[in-house]
């Protein structure tokens, strides 16, 4: 046994989000555009989801294109350049290469080479997972400026005849830069999973099934809507409450609530369960953007700030939840 001891890294005492940015698919898709094949209507979709339109990207745009545009905005908002980023975390479920990871390609595109780069597969909780990791990387000294991207082209996974989830989905990307801070800017993350409910949000079949059964065609998404609603609306509020408590604040202390934009009915039920005062600005980007999975929280955050409903320095409670099932919540100081 060597008598030598080794050094361990030590990072910043605190971390915070320094800048945020987002982009949405350029096409506005109305409920009427989708209602025919699912024998539905604008009224039915609005009443059950709160969605009026969703944004979808064109055929020539992929998830990397979306992520690059969002990343550039976030880095600029942070007052940095690509070369300042030393870790890139890419949360997505819609990048079609098993390898290499989207994060490394994105890092190269934005001039962040040789940043550490890896993807996060945590569906609609991917961004909140990324913020948890970025906070840990900055405070451990593993990185100084971490780019967290949530980017999805969900329209690549939709079945126009599916009544369970496809009509909810939109395309977009949101990004945040996490860096050192003089004051606490990211509260403790409350996160977890429940793989016993893995089938509740699922792919119709595995890619490997196509080898023997090419007739199955391209996989698309399905969900058990009632199971997911019950889980999200009633089991995620206690997770959010734990995140508030862990940060040392209450629902009365936050200025903004930014849940994953899954369904307006889930958002409304969570507000009730949490007892949020009316003064809290609630992110409702889903009405115009649809459910963009990992991109939804940063997109909704950017919108709250852009519309002046929340301001830099405000406390926001954010929570991501989705396929896995997985979830993560934390209180953050808005950039």
């Amino acid at each position: 046994m060597s008598g030598l001891t080794i050094r361990q890294a030590a990072g910043a005492e605190h971390s915070r989000i320094l800048g945020i940015g987002g982009v949405r698919g350029e096409n506005v898709v109305t409920n009427d555009d989708l209602a025919g094949p699912i024998d539905s209507s604008d009224e039915w979709i609005r009443q059950r989801t709160g969605i009026v339109t969703r944004r979808r990207a064109g055929a020539d745009v992929d998830v990397l294109d979306l992520s690059e545009a969002a990343a550039r905005k976030a880095i600029a908002a942070a007052g940095l350049t690509g070369g300042d980023i030393d870790a890139v975390l890419f949360a997505t479920t819609t990048y079609f290469h098993q390898t290499p990871a989207a994060a490394a390609v994105l890092a190269d595109r934005i001039g962040a080479t040789p940043a550490a780069a890896y993807d996060i597969s945590a569906a609609c909780a991917g961004y909140a997972y990324g913020i948890a990791q970025a906070d840990a990387l900055v405070r451990s000294g593993a990185a100084q400026h971490v780019l967290v991207v949530g980017a999805e082209k969900m329209s690549d996974f939709v079945d126009p005849t599916d009544r369970s989830i496809s009509f909810l989905l939109g395309d977009g990307a949101g990004a945040a830069v996490v860096g050192p801070s003089d004051t606490p800017g990211i509260g403790p993350t409350i996160w977890g999973s429940d793989g016993g409910k893995a089938p509740a949000i699922r792919q119709t079949h595995a890619w490997s099934d196509l080898r023997e059964h090419p007739e199955l065609g391209w996989p698309t998404l399905r969900q058990d809507g009632q199971t997911v609603f019950k889980w999200a609306a009633f089991q995620m509020a206690p997770v959010a409450e734990k995140a508030l408590a862990a940060a040392g604040v209450t629902a009365q202390d936050v200025q903004a609530f930014i849940p994953h934009q899954a369904n307006m009915r889930i958002i409304d039920q969570m507000i009730k369960q949490l007892g949020l005062p009316e003064s809290v600005a609630v992110a409702r980007d889903i009405a115009e953007t649809g459910n963009t999975s990992a991109a939804s929280i940063p997109l909704a955050t950017e919108r709250l700030l852009a519309e002046g409903l929340a301001r830099s320095g405000d406390l926001a409670l954010q929570i991501g939840f989705g396929a896995g099932l997985v979830y993560a919540a934390q209180v953050i100081v808005l950039p």
Binding site: R48, F229, K230, N263, Q269
Partner: protein, 82 residues
């Protein structure tokens, strides 16, 4: 102590009223949740969750589709009590 069917019906009527705004006396055993009370699938899950909490029972998600009428729900909840 187990709730009687009448107590379950009364409690369920309060939960349904809270969720839908309907008067409690509109919630009677023979009414269909969807056809008569106009309760959609998500509101139904809200009612189910509150009923689980109130009566201390578990109503599996796959069971909910079998609860067509208020009476079905009352029977299930009454029977599910330990």
């Amino acid at each position: 102590m187990a709730y009687t069917e009448q107590e379950v019906l009364a409690g369920l009527a309060e939960i349904v009223s809270e969720e839908t705004g309907l008067p409690t006396d509109a919630v009677v055993a023979e009414k269909s949740f969807t056809d008569d009370l106009d309760i959609d699938s998500l509101s139904m899950m809200t009612i189910v969750t509150h009923a689980e909490d109130k009566f201390g029972v578990r109503i599996p998600d796959e069971e909910v589709k079998n609860l067509a009428t208020v009476g079905d729900a009352v029977s299930f909840i009454t029977g599910a009590q330990a």
